[in-house]
């Protein structure tokens, strides 16, 4: 019963979403309060219904109910519990259901906690959110129904793609989806503002925390996906410019730009029209990413759904939402009041610069990702746009942006003083120069650009710290008062500094891991030793082993440094029984922030085996930096000042409310 109830709940949600698409918006346009008031309870109702539906599917997975086609095709009774659960979204239908669940979850958050958002804006926003929901529910019900049944069910399922039987990949899609879909709320806010023809000052204050929330999850999701590819694919790389990766990078870049332009809008009422456009683009790129992954237009590592009917449907949705919102933008944007002016050298100016470079970088990634597809469609010519293209375009666009980052927070609003800003950053500049010289001394001319990269990273990190220190005049007012002032700084100031520091860490990791990576590819026979970056790696032999649902050949390696054993690594080649699918598991030794990475190739007849060994200095900083960035975002979300209109003391003290995301108040 639970399965069919889940199915019915999904259909009912579709009907309810249709109502939600119309009534509150009509109410908002006609200033009819009861009609607007429909939005909040219905948004919660939609969440409960889709949630029930999701539970129904999960229950079917947990009980191995193979009368559900989706379960039969993607599960297996012998699968470990955790992968039965992750199997729910490890397939096309389930992942779209999760997508919709997150969509209505964000709607419900606005409905429940947006009590201070002006009623027309809230109603219109929830209506727009319901348009997207309706579109994707239709997509689910008519092309990808997860509740299709088999009247006489088979007794065993067909298992899950073993490459997906990984804890990293079990968590990665939900994180990424929260990021992707979180941008839908910003989109709905933007379209609602266009429909109502009015952008309140309050608008920016609500948009920024929502964007931040989505951005935090998107950052974590991308970092997690990158780490997963690093240790699971066995290629030793952490970013492949794979179209699926690019699909998540593009909304991230535009989302980051949006985050910064929303600051200008919030503080200075500038860049309104531009911010709206960014909000539309950010979610459009999320939709595009969903299209690329879900339609199977790219046959790539992640694309596990291939069905042209679905592709056409999503393409229709894509055209409808992106085309519709951009048309609306072209029509309504000129009517919006423009905000305050500012000098080119000012915090606004710096943020505009940030936006320019981020948007240009997003455009470069966009072209690099879609050009091969477009060319294939138009001329039939097959080309590939790989890392060299992106290194040549994305890299040069990032460098000036990163150079400018420390200036942003130290410049004043409206009219800045570049000289004064430089004075506040001289320490960072000095340390960066020292770092560059030190690197040249350490590595000589081995890689000419790398020390400059290290210098850039130091400049970013020290610049972030310097901003905080000079802001409270730590050295002028004495340590004690200075620290007190530091603690008293608003969350957004801390968030900015932490996030910018994280960017520096990621840059440092990227530079050192790519420029100073030590790599050996060789065939080793038992007993042989290879020396790499001060480590002696000895190959002891290959041993077969049995896992719960796979067989593997494990390479046994002993890692010594200065003669002492520091670790034993066991990279392996696995064959999953149900699907006879081989996978590679890398062996990784972490020392500080650096890693030694071992990946196994084909075994030779004589007991030898192909081995690829890397030493990647400071490589983990790439992901740690992303986590730090996300943490900065979180700190900024919880900045009390963002909770506009928390007028009474009693309410702001209420703990339960202050723990809720952001925008809320």
């Amino acid at each position: 019963m639970i399965v069919e109830l889940g199915h019915f709940a999904l259909v009912l949600a579709f009907a309810l979403a249709l109502v939600q698409s119309v009534l509150p918006l009509v109410g908002a346009l006609r200033e009819d309060r009861p009609l607007m008031a429909v939005a909040a309870p219905v948004s919660v109702g939609l969440f409960l219904l889709v949630g029930l539906s999701f539970l129904g599917l999960t229950a079917a997975y947990l009980t191995s109910d193979f009368s559900v086609l989706n379960v039969y095709a993607n599960s297996h009774s012998a699968k470990p519990l955790i992968y039965k659960i992750s199997g729910v979204w490890g397939n096309h239908e389930g992942s779209v259901l999760l997508w919709v669940l997150i969509l209505v979850f964000f709607g419900a958050l606005v409905g429940l906690f947006g009590s201070t958002i002006p009623a027309p804006l809230k109603a219109a926003t929830l209506s727009v959110q319901a348009w997207v929901t309706t579109g994707f529910l239709a997509f689910l019900l008519f092309t990808s129904n997860p509740f299709e049944r088999i009247p006489s069910p088979p007794l065993e399922g067909q298992g899950l793609n073993p490459i997906l039987q990984d804890i990293g990949l079990a968590i990665h899609p939900p994180l990424l989806y929260v990021g992707y879909v979180g941008l839908s709320i910003t989109f709905s806010f933007a379209v609602a503002a266009l429909l109502l023809g009015r952008i309140d000052a309050a608008w920016a204050r609500w948009v920024r925390p929502w964007t931040l929330l989505a951005w935090v999850f998107l950052t974590l999701g991308i970092a997690m996906g990158s780490y997963w590819a690093y240790y699971e694919l066995g290629w030793g790389g952490w970013w492949f410019w794979d179209p699926v990766e690019n699909a998540s990078l593009m909304p991230w870049l535009v989302g980051t730009a949006l985050l910064h332009s929303a600051i200008v809008m919030e503080k200075r009422e500038g860049l309104k029209v531009w911010t709206i456009l960014l909000a539309i683009f950010a979610f459009s790129l999320s939709l595009l990413g969903t299209f690329l992954v879900r339609s199977g237009v790219l046959t790539s590592v992640h694309a596990f759904a291939t069905d042209p009917a679905r592709g056409v449907f999503i393409l229709g949705l894509l055209v409808l939402f992106i085309g519709g919102s951009l048309t609306l933008y072209a029509w309504r944007a000129p009517m919006l009041k423009q905000g305050g002016l500012f000098a080119p050298i000012s915090r606004e100016g710096a943020l505009v610069l940030n936006n320019l470079f981020l948007s240009a970088a997003a455009a470069a990634v966009f072209i690099g990702t879609l050009y091969p597809l477009a060319l294939d469609v138009v001329t039939g010519e097959k080309i590939s746009v790989g890392a060299p293209f992106f290194n040549l375009t994305f890299g040069p666009l990032m460098v000036p942006l990163l150079l400018a980052v420390p200036f942003g927070p130290v410049l004043a609003w409206k009219r800045g003083d570049l000289l004064a800003a430089c004075q506040r950053l001289y320490a960072a500049f000095g340390l960066a120069v020292v770092a560059i010289l030190f690197c040249y001394w350490l590595w000589g001319g081995k890689a000419a650009l790398a020390p400059l990269g290290v210098g850039l990273a130091v400049w970013l990190m020290v610049g972030a710290v310097a901003e905080l220190i000079t802001r409270v005049r730590l050295f002028d007012v004495g340590l004690k008062r200075g620290v007190a002032r530091l603690v008293g700084l608003p969350g957004s100031a801390w968030g900015t500094a932490i996030a910018h520091f994280g960017v520096g860490m990621t840059v440092l990791g990227i530079v050192t891991a790519s420029a100073f990576q030590d790599e050996r590819i060789l065939t080793m026979r038992p007993g042989e030793t290879v020396e790499l970056s001060g480590y002696d790696v000895t190959f002891d032999g290959v041993a077969p082993r049995r896992g719960p649902n796979f067989q593997e050949d494990v390479g046994l390696f002993t890692l010594r440094k200065d003669g002492a054993v520091v670790d034993r690594l066991e990279p392996s080649k696995r064959i999953y029984e149900a699907s006879r699918m081989p996978t590679t598991e890398a062996g990784i030794h972490t020392a500080g922030f650096s890693q030694l990475y071992l990946s196994l190739g084909e075994a030779r007849g004589d007991g030898g085996v192909d081995v690829r060994v890397y030493f990647k200095p400071l490589v983990t900083l790439i992901w740690i930096g992303c986590v730090v960035m996300s943490f900065g975002g979180l700190v900024s979300i919880f900045d009390r000042r963002l909770r506009v209109g928390a007028p009474t003391a009693a309410r702001s003290r209420s703990k339960s409310r202050s723990a809720l995301p952001a925008a809320a108040e």
Binding site: F342, A343, L356, A364, I383, V385, F389, P582, S599
Partner: protein, 153 residues
């Protein structure tokens, strides 16, 4: 630009400066993209293309086809040599590194690299994707054109 300049700027000048800066950045970005598209994209070729067109030595291409049965030879230092065929022509490929899990004789493969002066293709990247029945998209289409491919799709 100094502070006094900024102060004395009119509204119009401020706008123009901004638009100018934006124009410069966008023009630079567009230039970079066009340059990179001209220079850094890699064309997909089958062995027949290479034999007929005569790809200049040193130009990066993606070579796609089937790994010829019985052609795989492994030597020390993880070096592998194999032959890629589209059943009309063949190209010898040499590669140092770890082959992907799904690399098999008789299966589709895409190798990226350059044709050496001796006519041997030196690959620095070999791809086979994570699907047992997977034949790289380009390979499947190229083979279908030749009427060799008998896959379901």
């Amino acid at each position: 630009m100094t502070r006094t300049d900024a102060k004395t700027m009119t509204r119009k000048q401020k706008r123009l400066t901004l638009i100018g800066a934006a124009g410069v950045v966008l023009a630079a970005a567009a230039g970079l993209i066009l340059f990179a598209l001209n220079d850094q994209i890699v064309f997909f070729q089958t062995p027949t293309d290479i034999v007929q067109k005569g790809i200049p030595h040193g130009q990066r291409i993606r070579l796609g086809g089937l790994v010829e049965e019985g052609s795989l030879r492994r030597s020390d230092d993880a070096r592998v040599d194999f032959v890629v065929t589209d059943t009309t022509s063949t190209i010898a490929v040499t590669y140092q590194g770890i082959l992907p899990d799904l690399f098999r004789e008789g299966q589709g493969v895409v190798a990226e690299g350059v044709v050496g002066p001796d006519g041997v293709f030196v690959a620095d990247n070999v791809l086979a994707k994570h699907d047992e029945n997977y034949v790289p998209k380009e390979v499947a289409e190229a083979l279908k054109d030749k009427g060799v491919w008998q896959g379901q799709n």
